[in-house]
Symmetry: C2
Subunit: 497 residues, 2 copies
């Protein structure tokens, strides 16, 4: 019986507190647990084993070898014969303000709402998260750690006639567990038109059968794994970002870890009150008159299609390509599909400052053509440096991030974006300490200082925090005082190209 | 200097509480004040005087007499020569679920974000609200009480070369006051495509010059005026609905007024936790695959244009008409414009139940073709009964509302919708007590019980609560224990046709 049904069949005189107090404490306890049903070492062995068990290959193919996919004669749109899954169409964006006033681009249209869900359950009094070792064609290393459920509507309504989606019954329908988070969040607005997915975290009490591709991990273990490159996939990161805010005990002493812990405490205060932050966001959303109109893919100027890719004539931004996938542990065993392949690796970085002993990150109200509503909060820097090679006007703060001294870099890992739609789409995620000369307390127009707790409050609702900033929020939450208080060297910092 | 600038020029060590505690208490004190700078009797005299002072006439004209407006040859869309203001276009909506799966209709496209703002200021320690006596062509009685500022972007950027918008400097720019609320809210999704306006409440300390069309009222006075028909306009109601929740002292005894006071108290609990409520909303938004595509107005089937109106062939829903306006107290003194004229008066009603001594209203997750995102929370009943005459399938709860016994009706007033776009668009707003046999605790799919406090929390963000439900929220807040505790007879209840 679902939690809502349970509530509603209680005696009519019983109402409950609107915010149950115990959830945050139980999440904090799981974050403090560095081992659970298996040690992290055993996890790595298990994960490597799953990689060997899965037969999976990805091969680039020309568009002519796509099965079920074709270019519509009238529009040039790349569509599936079923009319489902997704299509690649054109987009024309105009804005009356901001650095980019007009552009054209291909874009993925996938109006269905999918479910990204993590199942949680207590073992020995500690919350564990059910994670999946999942191959996806766009991942450079193929196998990554994904949520319990990662299903498009086509998936779980079985348009492609594959097997059932495992564990889906805990997220929808009468067997659904207790909801800890359930919110529609946007995905990459530069590559998707109006895409959102349902991010869910659901708790159950009863026995849960454990499939061989799945494992139970504590939040402390997940936080440790978030310091590895290309291990925790995008879908896991965005769902973890939706965890209710929990308040770790601030570590002794002062400094970065202390300010970070206070930044997650709703009682610690902030530079802006919540209502001033919402007001600033509203003014940013009202400031732009952005019009994004879908157009036929064939009519996107400056982009050319050859037999194997649709690309921008100057080689920047991204290509649309096609692949054939052979798989042994997915719903169906062979398929072809288009993917978006970025031309280079991106940067997604939050600059941070401590004000009054509370860490703040510098968020950017960013226009992306595919957003449902104009702007969302993005990292301070979200850009692929190669796209700006030879261009005199640089994105604000990009050069500061690229030249940051190692002892200022508090988090540094490369993560993959959605491997089901993007090929080798990687971003280097960074959290970097800045000072007043680099990132002033009165920031430039379009930027604002927010605490981690304020970001956590905003992600309870959709269309505030974009997917790259949600990854960074998950990473900031992963930098727990227990694991990261020892200093920069323990924070996952290491050199990247 | 704006509040944000003031915050940011304080010493860097100073952070502030994210939620200042005093605001709710000051709003509660203003709600308890039944007289302020003027008595309510003096207000009525002043308001009648403003009606006599204003020269204002509205005349229906054929479309051919519109100046600056014309039907585009290719599309039949009704547009302004400047490309600004708004246009009337066509809409084609399909949904894969719900009572209505496909329809066509004309719709207003007005992508600009306007500002609806109320300025507040303390006099003798009591917050007063600066309200405007404003003529609008679509109001049956022409003059209504509007917010301090009610300005489209065209208005305040002076596309029509009229006078400046009075008091706009307190809402935007460097002189802006302290923000109490600032949120983008949707407007009528049946008549507007993706329309939202910025709802703002801003407080200032300094002297504010008082223009002859403006007056200062306490919240207690505004709440009393909300019990009158066609007096407080839609723009005022939606802004008042965005006031931060305040907690009146529950009156002695039990019953409706007591349950209503507890419903506004965040500590009183609710049938659903906040996270379960958000989850239910997310599931409703995910349940529908709604596609709303703009089409040329000339291609809307079942609607016919003659020289003076565009109407549905069966006479239901609404017409598009044209008027000429002569005015002496607006930005320009004469203009012509299209308006939408509904075919009959609507009903907007919340059914209420008390669970555990806490009042709950029955919200409906409703699809409207013009919503930016699928569904928003609407009143239990939102329908024009005449549209369903002779149709066997009736909207749920409509007949219950129409046949409610007088002693169950706790609020009842007729209010006008936006008089700048709609002609004689009136809704009868009702709050009605129901019992388990009429409105069960386990409601039908698409409906859910929420407290007034939960609605107030949701309206901090856009696209949750539709404009009719926001009017009812303002009305529920207007039913304060001090004025309404005496019983049904003092609750503004009276008979309507």
């Amino acid at each position: 019986m679902s939690s809502i049904l349970m509530e509603l069949t209680r005696p009519p005189s019983v109402v409950q507190p609107r915010e149950p107090a115990s959830v945050a404490d139980r999440i904090a306890a799981s974050a403090a647990a560095t081992a659970g049903r298996m040690t992290t070492g055993a996890f790595h062995d298990w994960f490597a084993g799953r990689g060997k068990a899965g037969r999976f290959s990805v091969e680039r193919i020309p568009f002519s070898k796509l099965r079920g996919w074709s270019f519509e004669p009238d529009t040039g749109n790349l569509v599936h014969a079923s009319g489902r899954f997704f299509s690649v169409e054109g987009l024309h964006v105009t804005a009356d303000d901001g650095p980019h006033r007009e552009w054209y681009q291909p874009i993925i249209k996938q109006p269905e709402v999918g479910i990204l869900g993590i199942l949680v359950k207590e073992f020995d009094g500690v919350l564990h998260f059910l994670m999946q070792a999942k191959m996806e064609p766009g991942n450079r290393n193929l196998l990554q750690l994904s949520p319990t459920v990662q299903a498009t509507r086509s998936n779980y309504t079985k348009v492609h006639k594959g097997t059932d989606v495992k564990y889906i019954q805990y997220f929808t329908g009468p067997e659904r567990g207790r909801v800890l988070a359930d919110v529609l969040q946007s995905e990459h607005g530069s590559w998707f038109f109006h895409k959102s997915n349902r991010n869910m975290i659901v708790e159950v009490d009863g026995d849960v059968p454990l499939d061989e591709d799945f494992c139970w991990l504590t939040l402390g273990q997940l936080n440790e794994l978030l310091h590895h490159d290309n291990l925790v996939n995008m879908d896991s990161r965005t769902v973890l970002a939706c965890l209710p805010a929990y308040r770790p005990e601030p570590p002794a002493g002062d400094g970065f870890a202390h300010a970070l812990a206070r930044s997650r405490d709703p009682q610690a205060g902030a530079l802006l009150t919540d209502v001033d932050l919402l007001s600033w966001f509203t003014s940013e959303r009202s400031r732009y008159d952005v019009r994004a109109e879908r157009i036929p893919l064939a009519e996107v100027p400056g982009w050319t299609r050859d037999e194997a890719r649709i690309g921008k004539d100057d080689g920047r931004w991204f290509d649309v390509v096609a692949v054939e996938v052979q798989a042994g542990n997915r719903e169906v065993t062979s398929w072809t599909q288009p993917l978006i392949e970025p031309s280079s690796r991106g940067i997604a970085a939050f600059l941070t400052r401590s004000f009054g002993g509370v860490l703040h990150v510098l968020a950017n109200a960013k226009v992306e053509g595919g957003f449902l509503d104009t702007v969302e909060l993005a990292p301070t820097v979200q850009a692929s440096p190669d796209n700006f090679a030879g261009i005199p006007v640089r994105p604000p703060f990009l050069d500061l991030v690229l030249s940051a001294a190692p002892d200022r870099i508090r988090y540094d890992a490369v993560h993959s974006e959605e491997g089901g739609r993007f090929l080798y789409a990687e971003n280097r995620y960074l959290v970097i300490e800045a000072d007043e000369s680099e990132a002033p307390m009165l920031p430039p127009a379009g930027y604002q200082w927010v605490t981690v707790g304020q970001l956590s409050e905003l992600v309870k609702h959709g269309h505030y925090v974009n997917v790259q900033a949600r990854t960074l929020l998950a990473c900031l939450n992963a930098m727990s005082p227990t694991t990261d208080a020892a200093g920069p060297d323990s924070l996952g910092t290491r050199s990247h190209d």
